[in-house]
């Protein structure tokens, strides 16, 4: 239901500018690849495992090609040439390369057409596996259903994957619909993905393929018990963004944190690297039917929520266009925002309502992700519980989709088991009590909430217009988002960006582009 009297023309205009912004960046994306993208390609071919020093095989292979300066042709070109010659499986060949019994660059070159044909067949075969996982998810949901919106989304973060599984199951029994396993602090800056089940992490658990599998199994198990499919979430961000996407697609994750700019702004990852990485990762997420979450909520942890409300909307429109370039559907875009206004603000709740309703109306088909208060949470857990309650009320009143539960001990520690329980219990109480409220209320014509929402929308559109003029990279340099500025040549990971040669081979890109929307 539309309640804000927003001008559709203004919204369309915002989308037009956002598209122009993204089109400019897409030229850079199309011309480049990265070491992470190339490692993802190898992972898609089925290569897994680590060498004796614990370095993933895909890192060993890509690094060798990168050092030799031949990655511009695409790892696929060299690797498939190797496979045709040696008649080994991808995993066997990878092991031989890392053991130095086979040197990819020393093998005779097969005609390019033959390599391309073989690469295409391999890619089609690899993507079947991902498609199967997608169909599995759809079958689960068709048979036992899923949580009702706003879906209750909680976090586990013990550092030990086996403990995470226990807590995740407990949370599902308590009523959680979505479980995110927070990553260990620091993983976003690792230029490799750790391997195997892990039991030591700080403030979270390593994202590894084995850990994904353990959690998936635990949630499938508990899903049968509670009779609803439980979504599993992880973090498709940082220097290994596209590789995590591959792992998530293969292990049937359902939701991935996957922002086009978060790493640049908050992790100081180089923007030229991130833009290329986010593209390939979103192709995979799109194809796998995964819902992505964007990270605009984070802007408000550094910038002021009232002053900067429009930057959230502007960024959501940019994130949407980046996702559309990967043929993702609106239904896959969990655009993020947050309840972060200073609790001392008079009528703060009305500002929150205006912002939440605005996001809902600008993206009517998207599963909006709503984040709880964090910045103004304190050690006063009793007050914190009330702050979270207001957040819950705002969420149900404005029809948010993915509701990340606020936890009363937010400012103290990662959630204890009963913290999570109390949080789920109170959200269920609020949602149940207010279940039909949205249909009963409207906002006064020309009143505070309508005016505030219209103002934020207009400011967002002028900001987008400005960014379209200077270009997104320049805008990031000037600190347009979250008051943080990043240089286009600065940050981590720039050395992993590669200029594609005209013969660059990566059949996954056209295949996934074709399949993103069509297999939905």
């Amino acid at each position: 239901m539309k309640k804000l009297n927003l001008s559709q023309d203004v919204i369309d205009c915002g989308r037009k500018y956002a598209k122009r912004i993204v089109d400019q960046v897409q030229e850079h994306i199309d011309a480049h690849s990265t070491v992470a993208v190339e490692r993802s390609v190898l992972r898609l071919l089925g290569i897994d495992g680590v060498d004796q020093a614990g370095v993933p095989l895909v890192n060993g292979i890509v690094e060798e090609l990168h050092n030799a300066g031949v990655l511009g042709k695409g790892a696929m070109y060299w690797f498939v040439n190797g496979m045709i010659h040696t008649k080994l499986s991808s995993q066997q060949l990878a092991e031989c390369i890392v053991n130095k019994t086979i040197h990819l660059l020393e093998l005779p070159r097969i005609p390019k057409g033959e390599i391309e044909d073989a690469a295409l067949q391999l890619a089609i075969h690899s993507l079947t596996k991902i498609k199967e996982r997608r169909q599995e998810r759809e079958a689960w949901i068709a048979s036992i259903g899923k949580g009702q919106e706003p879906m209750l989304y909680v976090i586990v973060a013990t550092g030990n994957v086996y403990e995470d599984a226990i807590q995740a199951q407990a949370a599902a029994r308590q009523g959680a619909d979505i479980i995110a396993v927070i990553r260990t602090t620091g993983q976003s800056l690792l230029d490799y993905v750790p391997y195997g089940p892990t039991t030591t992490g700080f403030g979270g658990t390593y994202a590894t393929q084995a850990n994904f599998q353990i959690l998936r199994q635990a949630l499938d198990e508990v899903g049968k018990e509670v009779n609803r499919y439980i979504y599993l979430t992880n973090y498709c961000s940082g220097l290994c963004m596209p590789e995590i996407a591959v792992m998530g697609a293969l292990e049937r994750l359902d939701v991935m944190l996957n922002d086009s700019m978060y790493g640049i702004i908050f992790r100081d990852i180089n923007m030229k690297r991130t833009f290329v990485d986010q593209y390939f990762s979103r192709l995979i997420n799109g194809y796998a039917g995964i819902i992505i979450n964007t990270g605009e909520d984070n802007y408000l942890t550094t910038a002021d929520a009232i002053e900067s409300g429009h930057t959230v909307l502007a960024s959501e429109l940019i994130n949407e266009q980046f996702a559309f370039r990967c043929n993702m559907t609106s239904e896959q875009l969990g655009l993020g925002h947050a309840f972060e206004i200073d609790p001392q603000t008079p009528n703060g709740f009305m500002y929150e309502l205006a912002q939440a309703q605005l996001v809902r109306e600008v993206f009517p088909k998207s599963p909006i992700k709503y984040m709880p208060p964090t910045k103004y949470m304190t050690g006063n857990i009793f007050k914190g519980h009330v702050q979270d309650t207001l957040f819950n009320v705002c969420s149900i009143m404005t029809g948010q989709s993915l509701h990340l539960l606020g936890i009363l001990t937010e400012a103290i520690h990662t959630p204890l088991i009963h913290d999570r329980f109390l949080s789920i219990e109170s959200a269920k109480y609020v949602f149940n009590n207010l279940r039909g409220i949205t249909d009963e209320i409207y906002f006064r014509e020309g009143g505070f909430i309508q005016q505030r929402a219209q103002e934020v929308l207009e400011k967002a559109v002028s900001l987008l217009e400005e960014i379209a003029d200077v270009g997104l990279m320049q805008a990031l340099t000037l600190g347009y988002f979250a008051d943080i500025s990043r240089a286009s040549e600065g940050g981590k990971g720039l050395q992993g960006v590669i200029v594609k040669e005209c013969s660059y081979l990566n059949p996954f890109i056209p295949l996934m582009l074709k399949g993103g929307k069509s297999n939905a």
Partner: protein, 254 residues
């Protein structure tokens, strides 16, 4: 009458000792589990323990809210807590202090180091906007504040210290799971020592679980916890830097 040598919690009568607890036991809810919660509370030194609420929160966990009366008291007269000795100046006074005592800006590097990804603390102190209406160090005319953000390697901090000739380093640590903050903080001190920089800078750490005592123990000049704003930190810096007489005497005018 209040006995300062034997202070007890106050519920609604002096010395009633009332305490509220909540905790989870990793056992299914049953009458035996409730009794276990009560006995456990009694073992903590709480008399008349009463389980106000008990609830199964999964097949294998039960949650309790318990009240009891604390039998212990504490001698408040015998307690001393190390705190940062500090005269808190206003933003204006701090700028004035620097102008009076130094003919250049005060150079400050801030970072949330190593594995810690949480910028909220360092931003509250350093960003122009600050926090809760208290402007951050970047807004001080006489302070050259460089906020390096989160997950900054100690090597990068040291590099920046050389680059801007820092007078002070502000370190934030939010994540304390498995004492990771101790490891990170120690690493920086060790590296500063090795570089011969430790005595040339004022070194401050802040975070919700940081105490001044812990900071001193780790070799820092001061530790700040919650409810600290930029003016507290800046007041400490200018006074400490002056006390240590580290400023270039040739330029000192005050």
């Amino acid at each position: 009458m209040l006995d300062v040598h034997h202070v007890k919690p106050y519920g609604d009568t002096l010395n009633d000792g009332i305490v509220q607890l909540s905790f989870t036991l990793p056992i299914p809810l049953s009458n035996a589990a409730k009794e276990a919660a009560r006995q456990l509370t009694a073992n903590m030194g709480l008399e008349e323990a009463a389980v106000a609420h008990a609830e199964g929160i999964s097949d294998t966990f039960s949650f309790f809210i318990v009240y009891g009366k604390c039998s212990h008291g504490v001698n408040i007269a015998g307690i001393t807590v190390p705190e940062v000795a500090l005269e808190v100046l206003s933003k204006k006074e701090i700028d004035e202090f620097i102008r009076t005592h130094l003919n250049r800006k005060l150079n400050v590097v801030g970072a949330c180091i190593e594995s810690d990804a949480h910028t909220v603390g360092i931003d509250a102190i350093m960003n122009i906007k600050g926090f809760n209406g208290h402007k951050g160090l970047e807004s001080y005319h006489e302070i050259n504040a460089v906020n390096m953000g989160a997950q900054v390697a100690c090597e990068e901090v040291i590099h920046k210290v050389y680059e801007i000739q820092a007078d002070a380093i502000l370190i934030s640590q939010v994540v304390t799971q498995k004492n990771i903050h101790i490891t990170n903080l120690t690493r920086l001190v060790d590296m500063l020592e090795a570089e011969g920089l430790r005595d040339k800078v004022t070194l401050v750490v802040g975070g919700p679980r940081i105490s001044h005592e812990l900071a001193k123990e780790l070799g820092y000049d001061a530790g700040f916890s919650s409810n600290t704003y930029a003016e507290h930190v800046a007041s400490f810096l200018v006074q400490e830097v002056k006390r240590k007489n580290m400023w270039d005497n040739g330029k000192e005018t005050g």
